[in-house]
Amino acid sequence: MNHWDWHFVWRTLPQLVDALCVTLQATALGMLLAATLGLFWAVARRSAARLVSWPAAAVVEFIRSTPLLVQLYFLYYVFPSLGVTLSAMAAGVIGLGVHYSSYTAEVYRAGLEGVPRGQWEAATALNLSKWDTLRRVVLPQAIPPVLPALGNYLVAMFKETPLLSAITVVELVHVAKDEIGAETFKYLEPLTLVGVIFLVLSLLSAAMIRYVEAKWTLRRIAV
């Protein structure tokens, strides 16, 4: 029977902290990509030009309906044979970001639909360009209400980063299982720590999101 070894914990902790940095980096970059690309999809889907809206809808549907793991394998193992070679981290960030952009696109869509038509009409009456209409009139009203929903996807994506270990990114689970565990044959401590780290950070982020949400609701009531 294996029992908990604090010495071992302290000795391996630095490795896990390094791995946590990789996980956080992948999450942050992935979310950056997901947040931008998702907005792009959402706006493209609303376009009056079918040549724009239809492909955008199709791509989003395709991304959402295929597993992230398969997409990661494609990016990392299949793309090189098509002449595109990506580092594991790059493939991981792109995979996460693109996959989650299909979810954030829906979130943005809800936000855009929440902006009254009169706002678009006022922008037309003032002869604003399409770009100014979006950037200065519509998005500043569409995005704040959906920030909590975007935040929830950030947490969800964070919890999915262990999938990146499948394409050799040295994130938390990879380090715990394939480095520390495989070398010492002790899995209890590293994997428990990984679980705790995910738990604590997820709870913290969820609390933050709730805080932002509460603040937003208050503001809306005040208005």
């Binding site: 009409e121 037309t124 009456a125 003032l126 002869n127």
Partner: protein, 259 residues
């Protein structure tokens, strides 16, 4: 004598599904005219304004603003549909004020008014703000520059919206039931602003309203719409005291009894 009208509609039709909202409207409006557009709800008067502002597209017919086709390009071999860029250029001469104000809630009053001159006309920030301040002064809101729309009463909001539209210096102003969403005691302040605008400028104004007395006072021409056609078109005194058509008479009777 025969100057070019600033607005020319020729055979303009518009349907929403089965509903024919405008049925071949012909209408010329000269520069500087103040036209009240009256008629029952759903008669097509708001749609007319929305077509002039390009918020709806006509199914048939042509619209000219100050000589330029709004939805068409005039080639040697006839008219063809205009690209959005052209439409945008022509509609710069038109401004509109809405029933529900449609102010930008995330911008201060000053920014609501100065944004379009800044972004669209390329004014410097200073000039755009100066113009906005002057116009807000004109509508009696110089002390509200830094307020946000939600801090204003309905009448104040609508006055900001009027200043915002004027800031783009349009030749034609469209007013779409601008007092209909206001509490009764706030109607007066907005009507006063419109009256001042009508007497102090020679801006062309199209005013859709259900307030008959106001329609009569402000206009030098009244157009009566019913079921998508112009039934009667003439001087306010004539239309309100001695309409030629039965439908006009019946409509006026109904609304005047109601108020």
């Amino acid at each position: 004598m025969n100057e070019q009208p600033i607005i020319e509609l020729c055979g303009v039709s518009k349907s929403f599904g089965q509903l024919r909202v405008l049925r071949g409207i012909d209408l010329d409006i000269n520069a500087g005219q103040h036209v009240s557009v009256i008629g029952p709800s759903g008669s097509g008067k708001s749609t007319l304004l929305r077509l002039l502002m390009t918020l709806e597209k006509p199914d048939a017919g042509t619209v000219r603003i100050d000589g330029d086709y709004l939805y068409h390009l005039d080639n040697t071999n006839g008219l063809r549909p205009a690209p959005p860029r052209h439409t945008r250029q022509v509609r710069a001469k038109v401004g509109m004020v809405f029933q529900h104000f449609n102010l930008f809630p995330h911008m201060s009053v000053l920014r609501n008014v100065s944004m379009a001159p800044l972004r669209v006309q390329g004014l410097s920030k200073q000039d755009a703000q100066q113009r906005a301040e002057d116009l807000l002064g004109m509508v009696g809101l110089r002390d509200k520059l830094d307020s946000y729309p939600h801090q204003l009463s309905g009448g104040q909001k609508q006055r900001v919206a009027i200043a915002r539209a004027l800031a783009m210096q349009p030749k034609v102003m469209l007013f779409d039931e601008v007092t209909s969403a206001l509490d009764p005691e706030l109607v007066g302040e907005v009507q006063t602003v419109l009256r001042e605008l009508a007497t102090s400028t020679n801006m062309t104004m199209l005013i859709v309203t259900h307030q008959m007395r106001f329609a009569q006072q402000i206009a030098d021409r009244v157009v009566f719409f019913d079921r998508g056609v112009i039934v009667e078109d003439g001087q306010p005194e004539v239309i309100f005291s001695n309409p030629r058509h039965d439908r006009t008479r019946r409509f006026l009777q109904t609304v005047l009894e109601a108020t």
